[in-house]
């Protein structure tokens, strides 16, 4: 018995520590002529967030190819150096150090997860190297950062602080929401922050949160949570979670509210895979997003077509934001006059104003956060469509 119990204890220890996945290093992008401007791309190709990394890589590469084909930055080509942060904070720090010290990149895009960014961004901040966050939507990425000054960090991804209140406001205006239930994935910092944003936005809009229901990433079944929510007879459910749990919430709402109940979701809901998984329940969703794939704006339509031609599938928001960040970076490099002068590049990035991108007119706020339109979307016939 003793050996068995110690075996169990050992397993639990292994499980708790080994959930980071296997770090692996992506071969660096080709190094062409000497004058190449290296740009680091630190993304999650393995680990928990490996859903997003490949999309981001495709988006950034497409932008690089287009920029290089159009003459690069004053004749110099951009060369992406792709590194896998393995969805792990320590690995993120390691690859940031490598990109800065060994590859001597001019700027870095990434990393994929907010939690990894919180570890890796300070490395670049200390080195005085511009970083554009391409998918971090949590709080504390730019502006006021937990680790102190973060004036070298920019963000091209629409934060939850902007997206969630916009979605809730739109829902309230149209549906006259008074009483809601808030569900959130409490063991994910990102989702828990989203819940706080929802709470504040609900208070601002005069909406009562009748009950708050935390759940965990590892929860198997969501019927009990939704049954619990049903007991409050809410006008809608607010839900903050990652994609894996988002579809489960929607599926359960679909089963238990046959007449339909709106779910105002966080960024985790903003995924075509969630629509497919939720099936008939997907149209309940309302979500504030950074991008409308179907937007007929020419910059967007051209991007969607080019992406499809190159990869054979539609881009998702992660690809689009990575693409946009690369475009924004190249634009700033051109305006800076000298791409290797980091201070000049930072200043040029700060001057980004109403640049035409697939996300719409793109600017940076004084806090280095993205300023762009918010698209509040719902689902119809298996596609995201504007809510209004």
């Amino acid at each position: 018995m003793r050996t068995r119990l110690s075996a169990v204890t050992a397993v639990i220890a292994v499980l708790l520590t080994a959930c980071g996945g296997t770090p692996s290093t992506q071969p660096s992008a080709s190094t062409g002529p000497k004058a190449d401007i290296k740009v680091g791309l630190a993304i999650s190709l393995t680990g928990a967030a490996n859903i997003y990394g490949p999309s981001q890589q495709n988006g950034a590469k497409l932008a690089m190819d287009q920029i290089n084909a159009a003459g690069g930055v004053d004749g110099a080509k951009i060369a992406l150096v792709v590194e896998d942060d393995a969805s792990a904070r320590d690995q993120g720090i390691t690859v940031f150090r490598k990109l800065i010290n060994e590859d001597k990149v001019a700027a870095i895009l990434g990393p994929t997860l907010s939690g990894v960014a919180a570890g890796a961004h300070p490395v670049a901040q200390q080195a005085g190297l511009p970083v554009i966050a391409i998918s971090n939507t949590g709080v504390g990425i730019v502006g006021k950062c937990d680790y102190g000054a973060c004036d070298w960090i920019f963000r091209a991804s629409l934060g939850e602080e902007t997206a969630l209140p916009a979605a809730l406001k739109a829902a309230k205006d149209k549906l006259n929401l008074k009483k809601v239930v808030l569900m959130f994935e409490s063991d994910q910092k990102f989702a828990a922050d989203g819940a706080d944003i929802f709470k504040k936005a609900a208070a601002d809009n005069g909406i009562t949160i009748a009950r708050t229901i935390p759940y965990k990433t590892a929860d198997v079944d969501f019927s009990a949570f939704v049954t619990q929510a049903k007991g409050e007879s809410p006008d809608a459910i607010l839900a903050s979670g990652l994609a894996g749990t988002a579809s489960k919430v929607l599926v359960e709402v679909g089963k238990q509210f046959p007449q339909g109940l709106r779910v105002v979701g966080s960024n985790g809901f903003n995924s075509p895979a969630v629509i497919t998984a939720a099936g008939a329940a997907a149209p309940n969703m309302i979500v504030g997003t950074a991008w409308n794939k179907a937007s007929t704006d020419k910059t967007n339509a051209d991007f969607v077509k080019a992406f499809k031609d190159k990869y054979g599938s539609d881009p998702d928001q992660f690809a689009t934001q990575a693409y946009t960040a690369m475009v924004v970076l190249a634009d700033a490099m051109k305006r800076s006059g000298n791409a290797s002068d980091k201070a000049a590049l930072k200043k040029a990035l700060e001057g980004t104003k109403d640049l035409a991108t697939p996300l719409g007119a793109f600017s940076f706020t004084p806090e280095h956060d993205v300023k762009q339109p918010v698209f509040v979307m719902t689902v119809k016939d298996g596609q995201f469509v504007p809510f209004n």
Partner: protein
């Protein structure tokens, strides 16, 4: 309340199907098979494969999932456990070996299917809702609960009342003695892995059906829960695993229903607090016997 009880029984049934397979291998061979969550995931994908490639109905796809993951279990044993067993490696090595095997398979599945959520073909899953009074019960879940119970009863029958079951129990008692008594030990080991993995695979397919969203890492979160279930029920006891599974399922949902909203965060703390208590107070679990001891 009736709805919540129904929900709890459903969760308990999935935990139970997952945990009995886990407990079976442990009770017979004294190893923790850390590749069990992979088998669970494979079951969901095998069902998907048969449904989307051959247009099999969900029920037959679940049977296929049982058979294929069962065979996979035998393969798993040959690759990850048998070589270690031959050289008498300690159980810890077997555990690590199965963990490594699990990671490799998950990566392969991610290469094939991508890491994102995958869904079953549209319209391939039954969608009936039973309306009983105010409660709306999902028909598919009722089927799943029923099937889980049938499978567990079947397993008990096989272990207790068949020649194969006697061989497995003899093996659990003492492999050397079993071999001397003429038990085909290799066959009994293969059967153990077949049954264990088949049940895990079916559980994966059924949970996949219930949520229509499967992904290569879907089994991972169940591992800690399965440990809890096994420790609470009694290491290696099959009825213990089932009992532990329903206790955990009902306990989790009772915590959700009865805890005041401000304390809702403590739900998991209760579940794992239970694990802790059992380890400290009653280390052999509620029904702590091995299969062999109940002969």
């Amino acid at each position: 309340m009736a709805e919540q009880l129904y929900n709890a029984i459903f969760v308990g049934s999935i935990y139970a199907l997952f945990a009995v397979g886990f407990a079976l291998v442990f009770s017979v061979l004294d190893i923790l098979n850390l590749a069990h969550p992979v088998v669970f995931m494979l079951g969901a994908f095998v069902a998907l494969f048969f449904m989307s490639t051959f247009g099999l109905p969900a029920a037959l796809a679940a049977v296929a999932a049982f058979a294929v993951t069962g065979m996979f279990g035998i393969f798993l044993d040959r690759v990850a456990f048998a070589p270690l067993r031959r050289r008498g490696a300690p159980p810890l090595s077997a555990m690590i070996s199965s963990l490594g095997f699990a990671i490799v398979v998950i990566r392969l599945m991610e290469l094939r299917y991508g890491p994102d959520l995958v869904s079953y073909p549209a319209g391939s899953l039954p969608q009936t809702v039973l309306q009983i009074g105010d409660a709306r019960l999902d028909g598919l879940r009722l089927l799943i609960i029923g099937l889980a119970i049938v499978l567990m009863v079947g397993l008990t029958y096989v272990v207790r009342a068949t020649q194969l079951g006697r061989d497995i129990r003899a093996l659990a008692e003492n492999p050397r003695a079993a071999r001397l008594l003429g038990v085909d030990v290799d066959r009994a080991i293969a059967a153990t892995f077949f049954i264990s993995s088949g049940l895990g695979g079916v559980a994966g397919a059924l949970l996949g059906f219930a949520y229509n969203a499967i992904y290569p890492q879907m089994g991972t979160p169940y591992e800690l829960k399965a440990f809890t279930v096994m420790v609470v029920g009694g290491m290696g006891s099959l009825p213990g695993a089932v009992l532990g599974a329903y206790i955990l399922g009902i306990g989790e949902i009772a915590a959700l229903v009865f805890l005041p909203a401000e304390l809702a965060e403590l739900r998991d703390a209760l579940a794992f607090g239970l694990l802790f208590l059992v380890l400290v107070i009653r280390p052999r679990g509620l029904l702590g016997h091995r299969v062999a001891d109940r002969a």
